[in-house]
């Protein structure tokens, strides 16, 4: 008898509806209103690459050891350097990073011995052209500057 009543009055369907209505309260809203609120990503987030510079004198930390280029699975880093006769070390001239093929695996960041190459928390990397995704040294040091809209 109870089963018949449950069947007629759609009790099991009502139970499901109760769950749905319980989740309608404003406390349960988890949608982020992007781009008004930008999500806070983790510290270790593997986003846009950046070439770090020494904060005191503004010189690049990169020692042109080429380890990042060797470690990259897609071979998209090209590092060129000239040898400095006075300090007997290599000076970085150009550093090309092809962001369109990058899979953000982090192997280049792990390989860098001086923490010059770092994957930051920037994830807004769109550009209007394919060539815009190939970053040179200047772009790598500055970082992407996505448009910030005012609402």
């Amino acid at each position: 008898m109870r089963k018949l009543l449950r069947k007629i009055f759609l009790v099991d369907l009502m139970q499901g509806l109760r769950v749905t209505f319980r989740n309608q309260s404003p406390k349960c809203i988890v949608t982020e209103q992007y781009p008004q609120e930008r999500p806070k990503v983790a510290e270790r987030y593997r986003g846009a690459p950046r070439l770090n510079t020494n904060p005191d004198n503004g010189e690049t930390l990169c020692i042109s050891c080429n380890l990042c280029a060797v470690a990259c699975p897609e071979h998209l880093i090209v590092v060129t350097s000239v040898r400095n006769e006075q300090t007997k070390r290599k000076d970085l001239t150009t550093f090309t990073y092809d962001l369109s093929r990058c899979m953000f695996c982090g192997l280049c960041e792990d390989a860098c011995p001086v923490d010059a190459l770092e994957l930051t928390q920037d994830f807004e990397l769109a550009s209007y052209t394919r060539e815009g995704a190939i970053w040179d040294r200047q772009m790598l040091e500055d970082g992407p500057k996505p448009a910030r809209y005012k609402f």
Binding site: K7, L13, E43, Y45, R46, A71, P73, M103, C105, L107
Partner: protein, 370 residues
């Protein structure tokens, strides 16, 4: 089948094309229909074939690890675990205990995440749209844990050969424990939405039956095999990465139909929470990386290592020729082999059941096609 007379309908061939909301990716199923009943199916796959096995022969062992995540992109941590275990077997090293416990925690979180997506998309195909949203809300918490740990949410590249790269961050245990406490009531919520629901039961019970013997013949593993009554789980049969220390059960059911697979996967999520709770209590201190050389050149040989991925038995057959690049990496994809049984399960079903059956096999086309 009765002899056909001139009153019978002719067979209709219908294409459930690669672009379809319910085929979980680019899967093409050619249905031979007699009215609404399916007489035969043929799967055409390969739309997502990227040649991962060929790429493996041209990269070094460490370089190939990010590619492996992209096969089963829903549950990428298990792929990484299988690959690292295979290379560690070739090198004859073992990850240190701290790394093993951390691997278990992340892999079980991964299993929950994969089953959550399965639940959401399967329910969506059947018509219950609500679980999809709740499921992604829970998955957000898991992906936040991954993001805090290794920096990426989906293609995590979390493990390295020999152990872990990143130390566990401060607050890892608290976040995982908070997730476990938050999650179990949510599983009850999903069950409240679906398990007793008469529509759900009628759509799923008796659909896509594959009994134990047929599962073994077709090589089907994972929750499909357990729903057919075969109590077999690689985590218990051939434990890896320290699974023998944890106390958990293997859920099974008897009939092997779609409803049983749903029950098995829901129970597996609960058991995963149980494992995570045990593992989080006993994370030992110590190193996170084993003794692995910087340039990995395993001795000439081959090994096959398989793990219990959320979808079935994921195996890696790696052959090395002594150089820094593998000679052959073969991935035994559970979704590919489970998908073979689609034809067997769809005989005599209705078209709407075909959608339910594709959903219950839990395929990810990235793994089917590699």
């Amino acid at each position: 089948m009765a002899d056909s007379t001139f009153l019978d309908s002719t067979e209709l061939v219908l294409n459930m094309g690669p672009q379809h909301p319910s085929t979980h990716g680019v899967l093409r199923v050619i249905l031979k229909l007699d009215g609404e009943r399916v007489r035969g199916t043929e799967c055409v796959i390969g739309y997502l074939h990227r040649g991962v096995e060929k790429i493996a022969e041209n990269r070094t062992y460490q370089m190939f690890a990010p590619y492996v995540d992209r096969m089963d992109y829903v549950a990428s941590v298990s792929n990484g675990l299988g690959y690292c275990l295979a290379i560690e077997k070739l090198l004859n090293v073992e990850a240190p205990p701290r790394a093993q416990v951390a691997r278990v925690i992340l892999t079980e979180l991964n299993r929950i995440a994969s089953h959550l997506i399965w639940l959401g998309t399967h329910a969506l195909d059947i018509g219950a749209i609500t679980p999809l949203f709740y499921v992604f809300r829970e998955r957000e918490e898991i992906l936040n844990i991954y993001e805090n740990y290794c920096g990426a949410r989906l293609t995590t590249h979390a493990f390295r050969i020999g152990g872990l790269q990143y130390e566990l961050y401060d607050g890892f245990e608290e976040q995982v424990k908070a997730f476990c406490d938050m999650f179990l009531p949510k599983v009850d919520e999903y069950e409240e939405l679906l398990t007793g629901n008469r529509i759900w039961i009628e759509r799923l019970k008796g659909v896509g039956i594959l009994n134990g013997e047929e599962c073994k013949q077709y090589g089907v593993t994972g929750p499909m095999l357990r729903a057919a009554g075969v109590k077999w789980d690689l985590r218990k049969a051939q434990p890896y990465s320290g699974y023998e220390q944890y106390d958990f059960e293997i859920p099974t059911c008897e009939n092997g139909d779609t409803f049983d697979r749903y029950i098995v996967r829901m129970q597996e999520m609960r058991q995963s929470v149980r494992i995570i709770r045990q593992a989080v209590e006993k994370i030992p201190a110590g190193p996170i990386m084993g003794k692995v050389p910087k340039v990995i050149k395993p001795p000439v040989g081959e090994a096959y290592v398989s793990i219990e991925a959320p979808k079935g038995e994921l195996g890696y057959f790696v052959a090395s020729d002594g150089t820094t690049q593998p000679y052959r990496v073969r991935v035994r994809p559970p979704s590919f082999i489970n998908l073979q049984s689609l034809d067997r399960m769809c005989r005599g079903a209705l078209i709407a059941d075909v959608v339910a059956i594709i959903g219950t096999i839990d395929i990810v086309l990235g793994e089917v096609d590699r």
